[in-house]
C-alpha cells in the first residue's frame, strides 16, 4: 500500500471534495460552482460537494471515491489543515492511497471568513485556491512514514504530590520510572502545610505517598539531584542527572515535568515583615508548629496577584484562607477573623460549602477595592469596602497575606533543557489550554501540577495520575511512527555553511565533520521548513513542500 509513486502526470486521477461546513462555508460562497469548476481542472476525474466532509459520511464518500474512481490524489477544500489534515490523510490511507498524496485547501478561514458578505469575491478566491491545490497535488510524491524504537522508562522531574502521583501511576501500569527531586526529601510544598481541607494532616498524607513511591521496585528515586542535560527525542531521550555524589546518565522514553511552584514572599508587600504581617504559608507553619498567637486576624486575598505585575488568579489562596480561618475559629471561638477579598474563588461543591460554613461560624468577609485604599499599618488594616462604598478600618494583631503561587526561579533552565515554552508568568505552557492540558506541544514531554498553573493537592494528584495515561498511550506501543514531512539535505550540493543548523529550532540538523555537510535527524525534524528557506545552495528541501511543488502552486494562480 505504501508504494513509491511512479505516476506520470498523465496517470493523474485527482478527486476534489468541497466542504460546505454546514453554512460556515456554503453560507458565504457558492460551493456548488466551486465544485463544478474543480471538475474541469487538469487531472481531476471526480469532484463532490459535501455538507460536512469531515463527518463520517463525508469520509466514507472520499474512501469510496478513491476505490471507485481509482483516485491517486485527493484534494479537500474545507477548513484548517491544522485541525483536519491528519483526519483526511489517514482516511485516504485507509482506502489504500498513500497519505502524502493528499492536499488540503483552506476555503473557510481564507475565503468565507475573511470575505464574509462578499459572496462573489469569496467564490472566485475559493476557485483560485482549489486550482492551486490541484496543481500542487499533481507534483506530490508518496512517502513512507518514519519509525523509531521506544525506551519504556520515564523521567519525572519533581517529587511533590503531582510527581509522586505520576510515578505511582506509571509504575502501576508496569512502566519504569526515574524520579528526580532537587530537595533532600520528597513531598514538596505539602511537607510545610498544616492540614488539608478535609482536616487530614498534609504531612502524613504526603509521607504515606512518598514512602510508597520510594519503596516500590521499578521506581528509582534520586533526591538532592538535578537534571542537567536532556538530549534526543520522544522514545529516546538521553538524560543526565547530577547530585553532590554522582552523575547518572540514562535513556528514557518520555519526560514528565512536575516541578511545582513556590508561594510568593515579597518584602515590603503590604507591610510584610514576617512577624505581624505574614503570608498564608507562614500561617500554615505557625498552625502546624502550634506557635500561632493572635486574636484579631485580618487576611488579605490577592496580595501580590491580579495586578498589573502578576495578572493571574492563583486559584488556591481563597480556599487556603477559608480553611485556616475555620481552623483558628474552631480552636479559638472568640478570635475575630476578617477576610478581605475581591472575589471568593470557592469554585465547585466542597469549597463553596466551606464558604457557607465559614460564614456560619462568624468569620467576616469584606470586599475590597485594590484601586482605592488598602493599607496595612500599625495594628490596623484600612481598606475601601466596595459593597458599602465606604472606607473601613479594622484593628488587628496579625495580618495574613494570601500571596499567590509563583513560578520557580529555575523554571527557565528546566524549560531550556527540554526546549519547551513557558507563559509570561513563568508557568509551563501546555499544548492546548482546553483540550491538551497535560501535554507539551513537544512530543513525549508532559506537564502536571502547579508547574503548569496553581492547583490544589487533589487537582495536582489528579493531573499526576492523568499524565500517566498520556505517557502510556505512547509507551504501550511497539514503536513510534511519525510524519514523513521532514527536511532532506542533498549531500552532493551542500557546501556545509551551517546556515540551516543555526535556524533549526529543534536541533534536528547536525554537521557531519567527515563529509563536511549538514545532515537531518529525521526523528527530531518537525517539518517547519526553516532550513529549506535559508539554504543558499537549495540543498535543503522540505518533503511535501519542495520548490517544484510550491512553484506548481504559484504558477496556477
Amino acid at each position: 500500500m505504501k508504494k513509491k509513486s511512479t505516476d506520470k502526470p498523465d496517470d493523474l486521477r485527482v478527486g476534489v471534495f468541497i466542504c460546505d461546513c454546514g453554512s460556515n462555508i456554503a453560507g458565504h460562497l457558492d460551493c456548488k460552482s466551486v465544485t463544478d469548476y474543480a471538475s474541469g481542472l487538469p487531472g481531476v476525474v471526480y469532484s463532490k460537494e459535501n455538507l460536512y466532509t469531515c463527518s463520517e459520511s463525508g469520509i466514507v464518500e472520499i474512501q469510496e471515491a478513491i476505490k471507485k474512481h481509482k483516485l491517486n490524489r485527493v484534494v479537500v477544500a474545507s477548513c484548517s489543515p491544522r485541525t483536519h489534515q491528519p483526519l483526511f490523510s489517514s482516511s485516504c490511507e485507509q482506502a489504500g492511497m498513500n497519505p502524502y498524496l493528499f492536499e488540503m485547501v483552506n476555503i473557510r478561514d481564507q475565503c468565507s471568513w475573511v470575505h464574509m458578505g462578499q459572496h462573489d469575491i469569496a467564490t472566485a478566491k475559493a476557485k483560485d485556491l482549489v486550482r492551486m491545490g490541484v496543481a500542487k497535488s499533481a507534483t506530490l510524491e508518496a512517502q513512507d512514514p518514519i519509525e523509531s524504537s521506544l525506551v519504556r522508562k520515564i523521567l519525572v522531574i519533581g517529587g511533590g504530590i503531582a510527581g509522586l502521583s505520576a510515578a505511582e501511576a506509571l509504575r502501576a501500569m508496569g512502566l519504569e520510572v526515574i524520579l528526580v527531586e532537587k530537595e533532600q526529601r520528597l513531598g514538596g510544598l505539602l511537607n510545610d502545610l498544616n492540614v488539608l481541607d478535609n482536616g487530614e494532616s498534609a504531612a502524613e498524607r504526603i509521607a504515606r505517598l512518598s514512602a510508597k513511591v520510594s519503596s516500590t521496585d521499578g521506581i528509582t528515586v534520586l533526591t538532592g539531584s538535578r537534571v542537567t542535560n536532556i538530549n534526543g527525542y520522544i522514545g529516546n531521550f538521553n538524560i543526565t542527572v547530577e547530585s553532590d555524589k554522582e552523575t547518572i546518565e540514562e535513556m528514557v522514553g518520555c519526560i514528565v515535568v512536575a516541578s511545582g511552584a513556590v508561594p510568593l514572599i515579597e518584602e515590603g508587600l503590604l507591610g510584610y515583615n514576617g512577624t505581624s504581617v505574614i503570608t498564608q504559608m507562614e500561617l500554615e507553619r505557625q498552625l502546624k508548629e502550634k506557635t500561632f498567637r493572635a486574636t484579631r486576624i485580618v487576611m488579605i486575598q490577592c496580595a501580590g496577584a491580579r495586578n498589573s505585575k502578576r495578572e493571574y488568579c492563583s486559584r488556591i489562596c481563597c480556599v487556603t484562607a477559608v480553611k485556616n480561618a475555620m481552623l483558628i475559629k474552631r480552636a479559638y471561638p472568640l478570635a475575630d477573623i476578617h477576610i478581605l477579598y475581591r472575589d471568593m474563588q470557592m469554585y465547585g461543591d466542597e469549597k463553596e460549602k466551606m464558604l457557607w460554613d465559614a460564614r456560619g461560624m462568624g468569620i467576616s468577609f469584606d470586599v475590597y477595592d485594590p484601586e482605592k485604599i488598602l493599607e496595612v499599618g500599625d495594628g490596623k488594616v484600612t481598606f475601601h469596602q466596595t459593597v458599602l462604598g465606604t472606607t473601613k478600618e479594622l484593628p488587628c494583631d496579625l495580618t495574613v497575606l494570601s500571596t499567590p503561587l509563583v513560578a520557580r526561579d529555575d523554571v527557565s533552565s528546566i524549560a531550556g533543557l527540554m526546549r519547551v515554552p513557558t507563559d509570561k508568568n513563568g508557568f509551563f505552557l501546555e499544548a492546548h489550554a482546553k483540550l491538551r492540558p497535560l501535554d507539551f506541544s513537544a512530543d513525549g514531554i508532559f506537564i502536571c501540577g502547579s508547574a503548569r498553573y496553581p492547583s490544589t493537592s487533589a487537582e495536582a494528584r489528579t493531573q499526576g495520575i492523568g499524565v500517566a495515561s498520556r505517557v502510556a498511550a505512547i509507551l504501550f506501543k511497539d514503536k513510534l511512527v511519525k510524519s514523513a514531512i521532514v527536511a532532506e539535505i542533498d549531500d552532493e550540493t551542500c557546501v556545509g555553511c551551517m546556515g540551516c543548523l543555526t535556524v533549526c529550532p529543534y536541533e534536528a540538523i547536525v554537521f557531519n565533520n567527515e563529509k563536511r555537510v549538514c545532515e537531518v535527524k529525521e526523528i527530531l525534524c518537525k517539518g517547519c521548513g526553516n532550513c529549506a528557506s535559508t539554504c543558499p545552495s537549495h540543498s535543503a528541501i522540505l518533503k511535501g513542500y519542495k520548490p517544484e511543488q510550491l512553484l506548481a502552486q504559484i504558477r496556477a494562480i
Partner: protein, 449 residues
C-alpha cells in the same frame, strides 16, 4: 469525537444504556441495552436523504427548541456516529399511520421499522462513568420568569443563538421577534394560498374580487351560495392581509439584541436549589459576551454576579480583557427579579449596594447562567454501578483518590464527579483512563504470573 469514533480500539455504543453490572474489578459482566434506532447501523451511511423526505417536523432539542428537526434525524450534523435514528414518538409509521417515505428514499436499505432493543452482554475489566450533568431548569426560579418572558433565555439557548449553525445563524435575534417573524411566515403562506384561490374564482367569473365585493356589500343580496363563499373567502383574505401588514410594520422596527444582561448563579449558590458553585458559568458568560461583541461591536453586556470566579489559567486575564475590549461590565449584585417592559424588553430589578437604592434597568435580552445539576438519573446509575453519591448528588470520591468511586474498578471523571470546566474535565479523564488501565494491567500481570 471523530478521533474516538475512528479509533481501532474503541467500540462506540451510542444510544445505549447500561442496565446491570455484576462481578468485580478486572472481570465485570455488564449488560447494555442498545435501544432500537429503527435504522440499521451497519447499512446507514449518514447521507441524510431520509431526513430530507421526512414530512414530520419535531422541535429540535439540540437547538433548545428554537428550530425543528425531522422525525428521522441525527442529533447534530457532525455527530458521531453519523447513523441516523427515528424518533418513535413522532414517526408516522411507528405511530401507526401511513408514511414510509424515508424507507423508500434510503438507497442503503437501512430503515428498519421492525427493529427492537437489543441486549448485549460485555466482559469488562474496568468502568469509567463520565455521565455528565443536567442543565438546571431556570423556570423553577419564579422571580426570573423564564418561559413567561420571551427575551429571558438560558446560557445554553444563547450558545445556540451565537452559533453559526444555530437557529439564527449566529445573529442575535430576540426570541420575541423570532416568533413574530415565524407568525409572518405562516400568514404569508396562508395569504399565498388565499390569493391563489381567489385568482381561480376571478378567472372563472371574469371579475375582480374587490369589485364584486363592493357590489356584494351594497346589494346585501346573498342567494348565490358560490358568491357567498367567494365573498367570505375574500373577507377572510382582507383580514389576513391587514394582520400581515400590521405584523410586518412591527417587524420592520425589530433590531437584534445589543444590550445584554447575564445573571450568574441561577440555581447555584442558592439554598433553595443547589448550594454549590457550578464552577464554569462565570467564564461561560464572559465568553458568550465576548463572542456577542465580536459578532457586533455595538453589543454591550452586564454580568450580574456575587463573585466572578475566573479561576483557571489565563481566566482572570480573559475577564479583564472582556471589560477592556468587549464592552463587558461586571456588577456585584444578585438580581431580585425580572419584569416585562415595553417592547418585550426585560427589566432587571436589583440593588445598587453602594448607592443603597433599588435600580430598574432595561435590557434587550437576558441570559441566565444555569447551574450544573447532577445528571437526571444519576441515582439510578449509581444503583446499577453499585457506587455511592456524595451529599451534593454527584459520584462520591476522596481527595486522596480523586477519580476512584466507592467500588473498586469503577472510576469517574468530569461533571459526574463535580462541576468543572473543560481543561479540568480533560485532565480528569486522563486520570480516570490511567486508573482504569492500572486496573486492567494489574489483572493482566496477575494472570501472566
Amino acid at each position: 469525537m471523530l478521533d474516538v469514533g475512528r479509533h481501532p480500539n474503541i467500540e462506540l455504543m451510542a444510544y445505549s444504556e447500561v442496565e446491570k453490572v455484576e462481578g468485580s474489578a478486572g472481570c465485570f459482566k455488564v449488560r447494555v441495552r442498545k435501544k432500537a434506532r429503527y435504522v440499521d447501523e451497519a447499512k446507514c451511511t449518514g447521507c441524510g436523504a431520509c431526513t430530507e423526505k421526512c414530512p414530520t417536523d419535531v422541535l429540535d432539542l439540540y437547538n433548545e427548541k428554537h428550530s425543528t428537526r425531522k422525525a428521522v434525524y441525527s442529533w447534530f450534523a457532525q455527530g458521531i456516529p453519523s447513523t441516523h435514528v427515528i424518533d418513535a414518538d413522532h414517526c408516522r409509521v411507528l405511530q401507526g399511520k401511513k408514511c414510509g417515505l424515508c424507507q423508500r428514499q434510503c438507497e442503503a436499505g437501512a430503515i428498519d421499522f421492525e427493529q427492537k432493543d437489543r441486549i448485549v452482554e460485555l466482559d469488562i475489566g474496568s468502568i469509567i462513568t463520565a455521565s455528565g450533568y443536567t442543565v438546571f431548569d431556570p423556570s423553577r426560579i419564579p422571580e426570573y420568569r423564564y418561559r413567561d418572558l420571551p427575551n429571558v433565555v438560558s446560557a445554553m439557548e444563547f450558545e445556540r443563538f451565537l452559533s453559526a449553525s444555530g437557529p439564527t445563524h449566529g445573529h442575535l435575534e430576540r426570541p420575541s421577534d423570532i416568533s413574530v417573524r415565524q407568525e409572518i411566515a405562516v400568514l404569508e403562506k396562508l395569504e399565498g394560498r388565499g390569493s391563489r384561490a381567489l385568482e381561480r374564482l376571478e378567472e372563472k367569473h371574469g371579475e375582480v374580487s374587490a369589485d364584486v365585493y363592493k357590489r356584494f356589500q351594497k346589494a346585501e343580496s346573498g342567494d348565490d351560495p358560490e358568491l357567498q363563499q367567494w365573498m367570505a373567502k375574500y373577507a377572510d383574505y382582507l383580514l389576513l392581509k391587514e394582520k400581515l401588514e400590521e405584523l410586518k410594520e412591527k417587524a420592520a422596527l425589530f433590531a437584534n439584541a445589543k444590550k445584554l444582561a447575564f445573571i450568574q448563579c441561577v440555581g447555584s449558590r442558592d439554598l433553595r436549589f443547589y448550594p454549590f458553585c457550578s464552577g464554569f458559568c462565570c467564564m461561560h458568560s464572559i465568553k458568550e459576551a465576548v463572542i456577542a461583541h465580536e459578532h457586533d461591536n455595538d453589543t454591550t453586556s452586564v454580568i450580574f454576579g456575587m463573585d466572578i470566579r475566573a479561576v483557571g489559567k489565563g481566566f482572570d486575564e480573559y475577564k479583564v480583557r472582556g471589560s477592556n475590549k468587549s464592552n463587558i461590565s461586571y456588577r456585584r449584585s444578585r438580581v431580585a427579579e425580572i419584569v416585562n417592559g415595553p417592547g418585550n424588553n426585560p427589566v432587571l430589578v436589583y440593588e445598587d449596594t453602594q448607592a443603597q437604592v433599588v435600580r430598574r434597568e432595561t435590557f434587550d435580552l437576558v441570559i441566565l447562567a444555569t447551574a450544573c445539576a447532577p445528571a437526571d438519573g444519576i441515582a439510578d446509575l449509581a444503583d446499577i454501578l453499585g457506587i455511592e453519591l456524595n451529599e451534593f448528588g454527584f459520584f462520591k470520591t476522596s481527595p486522596e483518590n480523586p477519580v476512584d468511586t466507592t467500588r473498586e474498578g469503577i472510576f469517574v471523571c468530569g461533571c459526574a464527579h463535580s462541576p468543572m470546566d473543560i481543561p479540568e474535565s480533560v485532565a480528569q479523564a486522563s486520570s480516570a483512563a490511567s486508573r482504569a488501565v492500572q486496573t486492567v494491567t494489574h489483572e493482566k500481570l496477575l494472570t501472566v504470573s
